[in-house]
Amino acid sequence: MAAKPRVKVPKSAAAGDIITLKTLISHKMESGQRKDGDGNVIPRDIINKFTCTFNGQPVFSCDLDPAVSANPYFEFKAKINEAGTFTFTWVDDAGDVIETTQDIALK
């Protein structure tokens, strides 16, 4: 189960600016390495893909392995040439897709 994605995008930027984006989502990122009290392996359940697009164009994406910490955090950059919308998408092992969007205006 994953929920509550949080993204930090500047409200506006000048054309040509490179901005910093930060994202955080709650997810336990169960590694598949741990065992429960009875010695049974707890099945792997992680977010395995994160993507960020701007007006439909890919900006940044990441393939995640179990070694990424719980509540995966990402910080990356994007170059802004026009006003538009960032779309952030997380996909986990169960096939759940969490999506959130954030607009940015030109200065």
């Binding site: 990441c62 392995d65 170059k79």
Partner: protein, 153 residues
């Protein structure tokens, strides 16, 4: 070219040998073997030998909690349509499975800079391998001392 290849192999093999020995001596948990790391790099790099420089890997020297170790990479590149960083793979040699995460950049990224947080099972080397749009490959290695491992038991 030859020297750098030899140096690189020498480094990774020495680092890996310790792990392999530990695994043979009856360690209860399987850790990524040197061959796995080597294989992952080869697959990622398409057979090219990674060069040095261009890529910067930022990690703490000492991580008190292996459950959440900040890692950030930056790669020098003009990030234009013809010349940009395609992807950067992070590997942890001493984890049960070496792969940590692979970042994919595009010219729209503006700069090839990314950060996340990772789990580390124990004190070990962490590698970052960058692949450019022209196929060139670069790598950087940092050693991180881990006080409490982060893989659960």
């Amino acid at each position: 070219m030859n020297t750098s290849k030899r140096e690189f192999l020498g480094k990774t093999l020495t680092a890996g040998a310790g792990l392999a020995v530990a695994a043979f001596l009856g360690s209860t948990r399987a850790f990524a073997a040197a061959e796995d790391v080597q294989k992952a790099i080869e697959e990622f790099a398409g057979g090219k030998t990674p060069g040095e420089g261009v890529i910067t890997l930022n990690t703490p020297e000492i991580a008190e909690n292996g459950n959440s170790v900040p890692v950030s990479v930056s790669v020098e590149s003009p990030m234009t349509e013809d010349d940009y960083v395609e992807s950067v793979m992070i590997l942890a040699e001493g984890n049960p499975s070496a792969q940590v995460a692979t970042f994919h950049f595009t010219p729209a990224s503006g700069e090839a800079v990314a950060s996340t947080r990772m789990r580390l099972a124990k004190t070990q080397n962490v590698l970052a391998v960058a692949k450019m749009s022209n196929g060139d490959v670069f790598s950087a290695t940092n050693n991180i001392k881990v006080t409490i491992g982060g893989c659960g038991g």
